[in-house]
């Protein structure tokens, strides 16, 4: 159990910069998900923390100890790989026990630890089986059991459920949830699957192009992305972005955008700045769509309506020449025509503003008076 801190970590593979001077702290006894698209450097970061990869520059600390130059075996970590790694020719129980044999533990202690993880992971039916009799999902459970049974201070998961079938995925996710609740180890979990990150993490560190762009609790990250990338990457589909203008109008600043019928006043913006371009971002499920006019609504063209996960409806809409998507509940979706004229409202409190450089603007929209 220790905090993991990386400082000025840089990794170059030839001309490719996989990690771009990352400084970050993974809090003790929490689950931190490293989330990001393929190639963003999340696996590289984890492998450097594990010691399987050497950083071009920078340091790794576990608690107060500098471990940058220690080999993996001296770092006292547990790790679960993308492909289920099991040792062949021995049973499930022996697999879990094998690393314990190198520790100074009594036979009774070893048996107790094996029994504990077997129980948490629901491997009870498999303990005596040979490893070759198991499917991938169960093998991965064995790998997880082996990693946690040694009770290392840090456990690293490298996309552990990418290569198992859907049913086993659910089971594993449930097992992880249970594990992280019971064990109070510092856990880093690498994934490119946002649902996985959302369900498992205490906090998500969002990565892009070798940098950690934001780290927050899942809900916070989802609702208030600190830049355009977070808005775009999270959610299915991601945020809707519309170009707008931020300008002064005597008493304060207002935002003008095609999706607002009239300029919307902001709170927190300075009133004397010249007009600037902003990006208006909103989650598709926060957009209100109705057949009738309402205050704050604009007329829109419904181009396509399709059903999606949870019987929600995904709508393709257009206002003027701005095309965007919205997600509505089954009730609303059913009440809408297949295509034609509708009214769209963007609730101001749900809107996030971004500057042209992609960063969030520290100004929120308020209800027009």
């Amino acid at each position: 159990m220790a905090e993991i801190r990386v400082q000025g970590l840089r990794k170059e593979f030839g001309a490719l910069v996989a990690l771009d001077d990352v400084s970050f702290s993974f809090p003790e006894s929490r689950v931190t998900c490293l989330l990001g698209p393929s190639g963003c450097g999340k696996t590289t970061l984890m492998r450097i923390i594990a010691g399987l990869e050497r950083a071009t520059r920078g340091d790794v600390y576990f608690g107060g100890q500098r471990v940058t130059h220690l080999p993996p075996r001296k770092r006292n970590i547990g790790m679960v790989f993308q492909y289920p790694v099991v040792y062949r020719g021995i049973s499930v129980a022996e697999n879990i026990e094998l690393p314990l044999k190198s520790e100074k533990l009594s036979k009774a202690e070893r048996t107790a630890r094996v029994a504990e993880v077997v129980e948490i992971l629901g491997l009870g039916d498999h303990v005596a089986k040979d490893i070759t009799q198991l499917d991938n999902g169960t093998r991965q459970k064995v790998a997880v059991a082996r990693a946690v049974a040694r009770q290392p201070r840090i456990i690293l998961f490298d996309e552990p459920i990418t290569n198992v079938d859907a049913n086993a995925k659910l089971q594993l996710k449930r097992a992880f949830k249970e594990l992280t609740r019971r064990l109070e180890q510092t856990i880093i979990y690498v994934t490119h699957d946002q649902t996985e990150a959302m369900t498992l993490a205490d906090q998500i560190a969002l990565m892009q192009d070798g940098r950690i762009v934001q780290c927050d609790a899942p809900r916070e990250l989802y609702n208030h992305p600190s830049d355009v990338f977070g808005g775009w990457f999270l959610g299915n589909p991601g945020m809707v972005f519309v170009d707008g203008t931020l300008s002064a109008n005597g008493s304060g600043t207002v935002v003008t955008a095609p999706l607002f019928p009239a300029p919307v006043p902001t709170a927190g913006g300075a009133s004397d700045e010249p007009a600037t371009a902003v990006t208006v971002g909103i989650r598709p499920e926060h957009i209100r769509v109705a057949t009738g006019d309402a205050p704050g609504a604009v007329a829109a063209d419904l181009l396509r309506k399709s059903i999606t996960v949870g019987r929600q409806y995904l709508l393709s809409l257009r206002v003027g020449d701005v095309a965007f998507k919205a997600k509505v509940t089954p009730q609303v979706g059913e009440s809408l025509p297949a295509r034609g004229a509708v009214w769209v409202t963007l609730p101001p409190e749900r809107v996030t503003l971004f500057a042209p450089n992609g960063n969030r603007v520290d100004a929120t929209l308020t209800q027009p008076r």
Partner: protein
């Protein structure tokens, strides 16, 4: 219709895609035909038939005849007489025994040395000059056994051999390695080991390369001691390739002839006479082609038996699920 569909799907993606292109490609008919693979195989099959199958049948046939090149008589049918004569021939049994112990010692030493050196090479991936060292190490394997036999006869030479120079420097005396009844056999084994250890290094490196990286990394993270790593991680993946190497070496060692022929011609006495040399002696020194053929047939059967044992072992492990 549905069948046509499934047959299309069986093809590899790229090929299936190419097939659906518009017509006008030459050989299209041939390409689609199920005889096409056969046509591709035909040249090598013909070669195999002429150079392997026919001589083999000829050999088996000859083994039932008395056919001496020194006598003007035509070949005479003997039935199994050649084989019973071999059965009662102490010289043949002696040669077989020597061949087996030659196989045992040379393949055993090659395997042990090859595995150890292979592991060392594997573990020293950052050693400077590693590539050069590997290339040099493989040199003996690339030379013809005849050449190797000649080199070593010179190296072992009691008068001006380089080995005896050092023997005299260190022990103060000369050794007639190939001429002495005590040293000739170990000396022959040593040359075979020198020649074929690189092959076992190569097989060991190939076996090690077949171990998934993630498993080695997991073992490192799990802090397994190196012996356990070898046993639980490396061996389960690498043992098939290693077994294949041992199999190939065993069969090859069984038929070692040329190298020994150049160095000792089987001597002193019969100290280094392996079964291949006995066949040669019967056929081309005594010109008894029938008896030599019979002996060759027996040697062939023994080689087939070895192959079958190994294949059975490989197969047995595999069906127990090691590859699944």
């Amino acid at each position: 219709m549905a069948q046509v569909g499934t047959r299309r799907l069986e093809g590899v993606g790229g090929i299936a895609g190419a097939r659906s292109r518009p017509r006008g490609r030459p050989f299209r008919k041939l390409d689609d035909s199920r005889f096409f693979p056969l046509v591709l195989l035909l040249p090598i099959l013909i070669f195999f038939l002429i150079w392997n199958v026919v001589p083999l049948l000829w050999l088996v046939g000859l083994s039932f005849y008395r056919y001496d090149l020194t006598s003007p008589e035509p070949a005479r049918w003997l039935g199994l007489d050649n084989f019973t004569a071999i059965y009662n021939d102490a010289q043949v049994w002696g040669a077989l025994g020597r061949t087996l112990s030659f196989m045992f010692f040379s393949v055993g030493l090659q395997t042990v040395l090859g595995v150890v050196l292979g592991l060392l090479f594997w573990g020293s991936s950052r050693m400077p000059g590693r590539r050069l060292a590997l290339t040099l190490l493989f040199a003996p394997m690339l030379l013809p056994p005849i050449a190797i036999g000649s080199y070593w006869r010179l190296i072992y030479d009691p008068i001006f051999g380089v080995l005896n120079y050092y023997a005299r420097e260190i022990f103060g005396q000369r050794y007639d390695f190939l001429g002495s009844k005590d040293y000739a056999f170990p000396a022959a084994v040593a040359v075979d080991v020198w020649m074929w250890t690189p092959f076992m290094i190569l097989m060991t490196l190939a076996a090690l390369a077949s171990v998934p990286k993630a498993e080695l990394e997991a073992a490192e993270v799990d802090r397994l001691p190196w012996l356990k790593r070898l046993w639980y991680v490396v061996l389960p993946h690498g043992k098939f390739i290693l077994m294949l190497g041992i199999l190939l070496r065993t069969i090859d060692a069984f038929k070692t002839t040329d190298m020994i022929f150049v160095m000792t011609k089987g001597g002193p006495g019969v100290k280094t006479e392996l079964i291949g040399l006995t066949v040669w002696r019967r056929g081309f020194a005594s010109f008894s082609m029938g008896a030599a053929s019979a002996l060759a047939v027996i040697a062939l059967l023994i080689a087939i038996a070895f192959t079958s044992i190994y294949l059975y072992v490989l197969n047995y492990r595999e069906t127990r699920g090691q590859f699944r």
